[in-house]
C-alpha cells in the first residue's frame, strides 16, 4: 500500500505523530488537534486507520499508542516485520528490524500452515539513558 494523497485530517494526525517525541494515544492526539477543529475520537481513529494502511504509522499494541514510522518517505510494509523497544521510563521508542527473527518466525508459520496477517514484536523495558 502506497500513500496516495493524505486528506487534511490524515495530514494533521500524521504531523502530530511526526513531531512527537514518542508514541501518542488516540485521545492525546485528539487533544492536540482540538484547535484545528477536531472534536471526536473517530476523527482520529479514522485517520489513523488510513495512516496504518499507508505504512507511515505503527500501532504499539502493548501500550495502545501510535507512532510515526522511523523511515520517513519509505513504506514500512516493505521492511519485513517491525520490532519495537519501548522505554517505560522516558517513553521513547526504538524501531528496528531483524531479518533472522523474521526468518525464524516465518519458518514456524509455514511449518504450521498458519497464514500471518499482522505480527507484533514489542520489548518493553528501560533504555540506556534511563537505566543509569
Amino acid at each position: 500500500m502506497n500513500a496516495p494523497q493524505m486528506t487534511r485530517n490524515q495530514a494533521l494526525v500524521f504531523d502530530v505523530l511526526e513531531k512527537a517525541e514518542g508514541p501518542l494515544s488516540a485521545y492525546t492526539i485528539l487533544d492536540k488537534l482540538r484547535d484545528q477543529g477536531f472534536r471526536a475520537p473517530l476523527q482520529v481513529y479514522r485517520a489513523l486507520e488510513k495512516l496504518l494502511e499507508y505504512g507511515v504509522v505503527h500501532r504499539l499494541e502493548s501500550i495502545n499508542s501510535f507512532v510515526a514510522c522511523a523511515h520517513p518517505g519509505e513504506n514500512c510494509h516493505s521492511h519485513g516485520i517491525v520490532a519495537f523497544a519501548i522505554c517505560e521510563s522516558c517513553g521513547q521508542v526504538i524501531e528496528f528490524h531483524d531479518h533472522e527473527v523474521d526468518h525464524r518466525l516465518m519458518g514456524w508459520v509455514r511449518s504450521q500452515k498458519f497464514k500471518p496477517a499482522k505480527t507484533t514484536i514489542e520489548i518493553r523495558g528501560t533504555c540506556e539513558a534511563c537505566a543509569a
Copy 2:
C-alpha cells in the same frame, strides 16, 4: 516467580481460563464467574495480576485477552520469550518458543544496552484449519 498457594479468586479465574478453548477478556471471565459471587472487574484483574506473576497465565496484548499457559504445572517464565499465533477466525491460540528468536532479540537488546522487562511476540492471522 513460583506459584505459592492460589487464593480462591485466583483459582476460580485460572480455572475458567484453563477450561476455555481460547483467550478470554477480563469482562468475559467476570461474566463466567458471576455465579461464584464475582461482581466487579477488579476482582478479575487482581487475580489476573497474580496469575501473570506466577507465570501460569499470559496476556495477549494485541487482543486485550488472557490465556492459560500451555505448560501445565511448569512455570512459563523459564521458557524464554513466549510467542503466540492467534487465529482471528476461530480464536485459537498456539503458544510457542524459539530460542533463536530469543537469541537475536536479546542480542539486539544488549547491543543497545536496553533493559528488557517484558517482551511480546504475537502473530495474528488464520490457522490451518480456518484457512481452508
